[in-house]
C-alpha cells in the first residue's frame, strides 16, 4: 500500500496558515487572555460545530476541571511533577503549577451538549452550536 502523505499534511498547512493569520483574526478577540496563557488552545470548525483542542501533557484527568456556562468555557487544574525523593536532577525543562483559563466563544453554544475527551495529554472539547444559532434555509412561499 502506498501511503499518501499529502492529505494529512494539508490540515497541518491550514493550521500553519491560520497561525500566521492569527494577528488579523478577531476570533476570541478580547475574550481571552493574551496568547501565552496556559494551556494553549486550538479551535477548529467541523461542519456546524466547533472542536477545541488543548495540549496538557503530563496532567492527569483527575487534576482537570472543565466548566461551561452560556458562551464561556473554563479549563482549570494543576500539573505536578512526580520526582522521587533523593533524585538528582540532570535536566529540568518541564514546568509545574496551576492553571485557570476562561474563553468566551463568539457563537451561541449548547452547554449541556459539550463533550470532553482526554487522551494522550490532549483534551478535546466538542462544542455544538446552539440550534437557534444555526442558519436556516427559508422557503419562498
Amino acid at each position: 500500500m502506498v501511503m499518501r502523505f499529502s492529505d494529512p499534511f494539508e490540515a497541518l498547512f491550514a493550521l500553519q496558515k491560520q497561525l500566521d493569520a492569527r494577528l488579523a483574526s478577531d476570533w476570541l478577540g478580547n475574550s481571552t487572555a493574551n496568547s501565552g496563557a496556559y494551556p494553549p488552545i486550538n479551535i477548529f470548525q467541523q461542519q456546524d460545530d466547533f472542536v477545541a483542542i488543548v495540549e496538557l501533557p503530563g496532567v492527569s484527568k483527575s487534576d482537570l476541571t472543565i466548566e461551561a456556562k452560556e458562551r464561556t468555557l473554563r479549563i482549570s487544574g494543576k500539573k505536578t511533577l512526580d520526582y522521587q525523593d533523593n533524585a538528582s536532577i540532570h535536566r529540568r525543562e518541564r514546568l509545574a503549577g496551576s492553571f485557570d483559563r476562561t474563553i468566551t466563544l463568539p457563537i451561541n453554544v449548547d452547554p449541556d451538549r459539550i463533550k470532553a475527551e482526554y487522551r494522550d495529554g490532549i483534551l478535546a472539547l466538542f462544542i455544538p452550536r446552539a440550534e437557534a444559532d444555526k442558519p436556516r434555509a427559508i422557503e419562498i412561499e
Partner: protein
C-alpha cells in the same frame, strides 16, 4: 512544595538538523526532564497527542533516540478558526554514559508523557562503605 504557581506556555522548539525530512512536516524537540535515582536514570518526555503505538525508542552506539508521531488524520475535515500552537512529530536524542545499562530500558506512556527508566549498571551504583 512551594505554593502552586501559575503555569506558562512553553513555546515548541523546532528540531534543527542539517538534513531535511522527505515529508514537509514539522518536527519538534519535546520538553524533557532527566533525573537520577539510586538505581536508575529517568527520562521524562512530553509528547502530547502521541499514542504509545507511535513511539519509537532506540539505542545505538550509546545514542538514545526518541521519536513520537502524532496522528494527522484526526485533523482531517476540520478547519482551524483560532490557533495558538502548531502540531508536529517529536524527535530528540541524548548520548548515554556507559554507567547505564541501555539493554534494560523500561518505557511507559501516560497522558502524553513518556517515562523511560534506564537502570544503572552494577558498577555505577553507589556503594555504601561501612566502617568496621
Amino acid at each position: 512544595m512551594a505554593a502552586a504557581k501559575d503555569l506558562e506556555v512553553q513555546k515548541k522548539r523546532a528540531v534543527q538538523s542539517p538534513e531535511e525530512s522527505t515529508v514537509p512536516a514539522n518536527m519538534f524537540v519535546p520538553i524533557t526532564d532527566i533525573f537520577e535515582t539510586n538505581d536508575s536514570l529517568r527520562v521524562l518526555v512530553e509528547m502530547p497527542g502521541v499514542d504509545k503505538q507511535n513511539v519509537d525508542i532506540s539505542v545505538k552506539d550509546r545514542i538514545l533516540t526518541i521519536e513520537g508521531r502524532i496522528d494527522f488524520q484526526k485533523y482531517a475535515r476540520m478547519t482551524p478558526v483560532y490557533t495558538e500552537y502548531n502540531i508536529g512529530n517529536y524527535h530528540r536524542r541524548f548520548s548515554l554514559s556507559n554507567k547505564v545499562d541501555s539493554s534494560k530500558i523500561k518505557a511507559e506512556m501516560r497522558d502524553g508523557l513518556l517515562t523511560l527508566t534506564i537502570p544503572k549498571s552494577e558498577e555505577a551504583k553507589a556503594q555504601r562503605v561501612e566502617i568496621s
